[in-house]
Structure formats: C-alpha cells, structure tokens
Symmetry: C3
Subunit: 328 residues, 3 copies
C-alpha cells in the first residue's frame, strides 16, 4: 500500500518541499529508511544523521528546514514528532480495515450492560451487569469490565485487562482476615489507553477513577480508590496502592511503586523503579533506586550500607576529635 | 436499597444507640457520609473527626461510645473495623442477587474435572482435566485452573488468574536449555482469595501449596514448590521465587520480592518493594529499598554509594591516624 | 503408571547399575524419594545426602558413581541434571495423553491466520489476522497472538500470554498525548517458552524480536522493538523497556528492570530486582538492590543514605585537615 506526499499534507497540513505525487510505501527510522519510506527527525541533536539518511522524505521542524531541503524531499511541521504520530494514525487507517463497531460473537456481554453502538467489544471479552462502554471505545480480546464500571469514549483497552476486580480489603481478626466487600466501582474517562494485563480495582466505598487522557502501559496495578489525574502516563509494571491520589500530567517510570493514601501533585515525574513513600506536593523529578554495578563491587558497597549509620557515628567522633585538637 | 439499623444489629450484633427504624441507604467514609449513610471509626486517633461527621450512624468501639452517643446514632462494637467488614458483606448480600452456583455456558470445563455443585465457574474460565473446585468457591471470569490442581472451599479467584502453569525449570546445556517438565500440581486450601492476573505455578515434582486463609492481591507471581502458610497476605505485584517457604500470618508489602529456597518464619512482615535475599527465621518487620528523593540529590547520593566501600576505607585511615596522634 | 529402569536407559542412554526390570512409580527429590521413586544428585556438594536417600534409583555423575553404586541402583550420566530433565520429559510423555494438534473449538482464530497443522491452539485463545503459528507450538488456554505476529516451531505459550499488544508510544502535545500507532509486529523464534500472563508488545515501526531458545517466566513485560538474543532466560516479573537489545545466553533475575534503548552484551547476568540503567557491554554479573534488614536498622541507614553526599564532603574536610596537620 502507498500514500502520496500530497495526500499526507492534504490530510495533516505541514509544508511540503518535494513532489506531491511521490509515493510512500512505509515509515521507518532515519537510519533504516529507504527511498520509498518516510521518516522524521524530532530533535535538532540528530542533525548530523539528516544528511546521511536515504529516506524518501523526512519530517522536520523549522530549524532543520533548510538542511532538509538541501538533502531532498521534506515536510516542515511545527512539531515533527506529533506530526509523525499523526502520520502513523493516517497510515493505520489507510492500511487496516476499519475496526468494526459491535460485539464479537464470542464475547459475553450481560444484558444489563450498556455498550455504545459505536464501541467494539473484541473476542472473548466479558462485560458485566451495569457496566457502560462509551462510543468509539475498543476492547481488544479477553478484556473484563466488571459490574457497574464505566468506560468513557474513545478508550483503548488491550488484551487481558481487568477493570473492576475487588480491591484488596480485609479486616484482621484473631483467626485471619474478614473480607471487606468492595462496594464501589471504576470510572474511566475519555481517551484513556490501558495496556495488556493491567488491572484497575474497584473502590471499597467510593469509585476508583482514571481521568480523561490517562495512558497506562502493560501489567500495571491500580489499587482501590486510587485517582489518576488527566493525561498522566505510567510505564509498564507500575504498582499504585489503594487510595493514592495522583495529579494531572504526571509521568511514572516503569516498575515504580506508589504506596497507599499518598498524594502526588500535578506534573510530578517519578523515575523507573522508584518507591514513593511520602506525598510529593511539589512538581518535580523524583528518584530512588540502587545504582547497578559489578556484582562484586555491589556486594562490598551493600555490606557497608548495612552499617552506614555506624559509619556516620564514627565520622562524628572524628569530627569532634578534630575540632578539639584544632581548638586553642 | 436500604437497611434499617435494627436489621443490621439483628444480623451482626453490637449495641445500637438510636432508632431501630432509621434507614441506611449506603456506607461511606467518616468525612463523606451523609445523614442516610453508615460510617465507622476504627481508631481512636480519629476521635476529632467524629463530632464533625454528618453520617446517619457511626460504628465505634467502646472507648468512643460516649462521644459517639453525644453526636447521634451509633453502633458500639468490640472491633469496629471487623464490624464494618461484616456490614459490607451484609450490604452486598442485600443489594446483589446471589451469585449462581454452576458453570457459565462459555466456560470450558474438562469432563475429567470435579466442580462442586455449590461452586461457580464464571464466563470464559478454563478448568482442566483432573482439577477439583470446592464448594462455595467462585471463579470470576477468565480464570484458568490447570490439570490436577485443587482449590478448596469458599475461595475467590478473580479475573485472569492462572493456577498451574508450568514452573520455570530448565537444565542448562551447552546449546541452550533443556525443559524440566513440571510434574507437580497446585493445592489451594479453603477461604483463599487470589487477585486478578495473579499466577501460581505448578510444582516441579511435589506441589505448590497455599494454605487456608491466604489472601493474594493482583499480579502476584508464586513460583513452583512455594508453600505459603495460613492467613498470610501479600499485596499486589509481589514475586515469590521457587521453593520459598513462607510462614503463617505473614504480610508481604506490594512489589516485594522473595528469592528462591528461602524460609520465612510465621509473623514475618516485609515492607513494600523490599528484596528478601536470606531466610528470616525470627518474626519481625524487615525492609530494604532506596529512599526516594529529588532526582538531583538522589543522583549525588547514588554516585557516592557506588564508592561507599572506598569511603569506609578512607574513614578507617583517618581513624588510625587520629588514634596514633592521640596516643601518648 | 510405571517405567522400568531398562526402559529409561534404552530411551535416554546412561549407564545403569541395577536391575533393568526395576519399576519406577515416580520422580522425587533426594530427601523425599522412596523405594519406588527415581531421584538425582546434580552437584557433588550433596554427596552427604546420597547415602541417606531411600530412592529406588539415583541419577549421578561419574564422580559419584562409586558412592552411588555402594548405596544401590543408580544411573551414571555425564550431566545428571540434564538427564533428569530428559527423564521428566519421558515421564510426561508416558503418563499424559499426547496433546492434540489442532484448534480447540472455543478458540477464535481469524481465517487470515496461518496455524500449522501440527500446532495446538488451546481453549479460548485468540489468533488474529495474519498471525502465523509454527509446527509443534502449543498455546495453552487464553493466549492472544495479535495481527501479523509470528511464532516459530516447538514454542510453548502459557495461559494469559499477550503477544502483539500495542507498544507504549505517544507524542506529547500541550493538551495531552497523541497516539503513535504501532505498525510493527512480534517475531518469535523456535523453542521459545513464555510464561503465564507475560506480554510482548509489537514494534513501533520494525518488529519486536525474541530469538530461538529464549525462555521467559510469568508476568514479564517486553516493550516495543526489544530484541532478546538466543537462549537468554528471564525470571518472573522482569520488565524490559522499549528498544533495549539483550544479547544471547544472558540471564535476568526476577523483577529486574532494563531501561529503554540500552544494549546488553552476550552472557550478561543480572541479579534479581536490579535496575539496569546503562548499557552493559562486557559479559559479567551485575547487581544493584538495597539489602534487606530489620526495619529499624533499615530506617536509620536509609536516613543517612539521603545525606551520603554530605557525609563524603565531611570526610573530605577531615582528610584535608589531617593532611595539613601531618604535613611538615
């Protein structure tokens, strides 16, 4: 399948330098693209690679427009990375048959669920009683949406997602644990994407909430009564414990952990594999994980770390002595 | 739907101060509950919030009974949190239709499996040959129970759970890995709850075992031949490697890791995100993760951490010098 | 069911010392095996346990042959652990009915997918358009293989695996995130095993690749455009971020994290729970996690760790003073 450069700029805007009739057979990275392919350069840092690329056409920003034109065909766009994202969408629409609306015959949808006629419920999904699925939303295969959970418009739920399993709530008794029935549900806004095998638990009393535009990667755990603010994104394997409130426009790196009942302000950014143990009320970039090293060196350093408090005490002792000896 | 205060204490006991005919329309937290709602106060620490609550009725322990009566209707119970748990169960029974016993028509149950007539096998579950499911046990949607695995009575398995996939066993050869077939199964006791997308692998030779009353949250991995003792609870994203033996009444925080072949005594408590690398034979509370910080400070501290052993050597050198200079 | 020692050595080789007609009723560990069971001893370290074992027959290597013969029946093999692995395979073939080839009637296989007649597609699996499944490959229950993804020969995919969900790609805009459609697929070689609920994302432009003989445990995340080299093995709960390139014959411990765009050489070994934040271009063993400790001690050490850089500065100050005072 092919798209002409003219068709691309007609659909997406941008300033074409080159022939409208030139045909594009696919998209590729700057290094790998051939003469039939379209590529992009999102960052001026990669200016050096521009001249060497064999791409048929390159999407660039205004600062690289002259250099790109000197090389050959290009499309100049304000934000080349966003433009590239929109080209992938155009390409997908052009090359894939439109996903059908409706319910795959193998899905199990409770008659008391409300599925918008413009939604798609994929093979072997389960939509339980009282659940609501908004227009344009896609459930890929083997997704479960539990009782009374609501999914907004234009959401994408990948295979194996579980929305609305019980939150983890038990009262300790001398004999063991007494189950606290989870009486809340899950509310998911519009334009939310949820990765494969990710789990969003239902609330204990009130609902668990993902606001509009939240993007979650695969194998993420969102505990009961968590609230995730608009346009916050989390990479894979993150765990968010119950009743945490995460602001808008945050990013949480892969395998990070957020403990329960904490609050994260808007625009908080957490590095991968970090453990958030206190509320972070100021925007900023926070980190905390052990740096990797050769195993032998790590072992030596880790052994000293287990006596770090003693080390400080010894240092204080020396400081006192030193201060005494230098005092008159 | 509503419940009267009289109906609640008739079902669950406790000392009602208020009108038996007062109707409850739902449960809520102390801060959010309105006049039609029932709330609870589990801890004397929150005494301050008692007077301000608009809840129609509050469950309290004996120490707060007088203060609660001064405010309005209350139920006095020995353990208000356990009482609240039982109210959620009562509420759930009252508001939800009883879950049917039987097998959903979309489930795939091998004719050689034994499913108790009082169990429920939900939509799109798979129960393989020789598996046994006890009375009152509920498999929510899309659960797999593998060959010869046994689930006790009154268990709850949430969506996406996999019981009895092969343990991870391979013998190294010069060319790669030789599969060790996993010939054991999984045995799960009574009153066990297992969260969404959690995996319990079958044993290599003997069985993997979860004893009665174990509670596992979502996205947990239990390796082959692990044994988890009675009433132990694990929060989400925990990984337990093969042949670990975990005692009774333990709690394992979210995203903690327990390495293989270790032993944890009864009543061991592991903080979230900690890595258990040695057996813990004494009850107690154990932790180990890097404290989170502003990224800049973390970077500086992490850089020094990679030279911590050198730092100790330098400190020792100073100590020697100091001791020499202060010696007569 | 039983196997005779003669049948075992006829099938697998090895030097039998004992009666060919002796019947074996099962396999077990050295400590637990009874007279009807076969066991093995993989490591000379366990020589002490040999004499005490009640096993009917023991697989040993040449260094333990004499000691094992003195005890009773044994099979001497060059590599007893590999021999044991092959016995488990023999036992499985002997005791389980051969897994059927074909497609379970509850699976949803797109007519545009190519499933080899010698493959097995288990209950409630989904195989999408353009996917290809090689000969001898087994998809256990509830596996999804997405559009255009290719699985080689003799692979095993456990329950809940998701191959070919979208990689996590979004371009930031002032309003939120613009989806980058993931136009690549997943290529999986021959003899690959993938554990329960593990996810392998499709590539953004090119494909995500697992080479021949890769072994992945449960609940692992492989991001888009990752390449994993031949015979590399990863324990459960590992996360590999997008565009990482991992060499051949590596081992990655459970819950380790590999950040994006990094390169790991062949024969790199990562300890459990370590976070790989830089390329590791030399073979070796790398580690990095906080050592576990009593919670009180951990708290004290962690508090000092947050001031470690200051501690170094204070040490430097003392060193300067000390050098000045000892200088002439």
């Amino acid at each position: 399948m092919t798209l002409s450069l003219g068709a691309i700029v007609d659909a997406l805007g941008g300033e074409l330098h080159g022939e409208r009739t030139q045909q594009i057979h696919g998209l590729s990275t700057l290094a790998l693209a051939g003469p039939g392919q379209l590529s992009f350069i999102a960052n001026e840092r990669y200016r050096q690679q521009l001249a060497d690329s064999a791409a048929g056409c390159i999407i660039v920003g205004p600062p690289l427009a002259a250099a790109a034109q000197a090389r050959g065909a290009c499309i100049v766009a304000e934000s080349p990375y966003v433009y590239y994202a929109r080209v992938t969408q155009l390409w997908k629409r052009h090359t894939s048959p439109g996903r059908p609306a409706g319910v795959h015959p193998s899905a199990v949808v409770h008659p008391g669920a409300q599925v918008d006629p413009q939604a798609w419920i994929g093979p072997l999904c389960v939509v339980e009683q009282g659940a609501r699925i908004g227009p344009g939303t896609v459930l890929h295969s083997r997704v479960t949406v539990g009782e009374n959970c609501r999914i907004g418009a234009r959401c994408i739920l990948h295979a194996g997602v579980v929305i609305g399993a019980d939150g983890f709530g038990f009262a300790p008794t001398p004999e063991g644990w007494e189950k606290i029935e989870q009486l809340g549900a899950v509310q998911i806004g519009d334009d939310v994407e949820i990765g494969a095998n990710t789990c969003i638990d239902r609330g204990a009393l009130a609902d668990t909430v993902l606001e509009d535009g939240v993007k979650l990667d695969n194998l993420i755990q969102i505990g009961h009564n968590v609230r995730v603010g608009r346009h916050t994104a989390m990479a894979a394997c993150v765990g968010v414990a119950g009743s945490a409130t995460i602001g808008a426009h945050c990013t949480i790196g892969g395998a990070a952990v957020v403990l329960g009942h904490l609050q994260l302000a808007d625009r908080v950014h957490i590095s991968a594999a970090s453990v958030v143990t206190r509320s972070l009320l100021q925007p900023g970039h926070y980190s905390g994980f052990f740096p990797i090293d050769d195993n032998d060196r790590w072992e030596k350093n880790a052994a000293v770390l287990k006596r770090l408090h003693d080390l400080r005490t010894r240092l204080q002792t020396l400081e006192k002595r030193s201060n005494q000896s230098t005092s008159p």
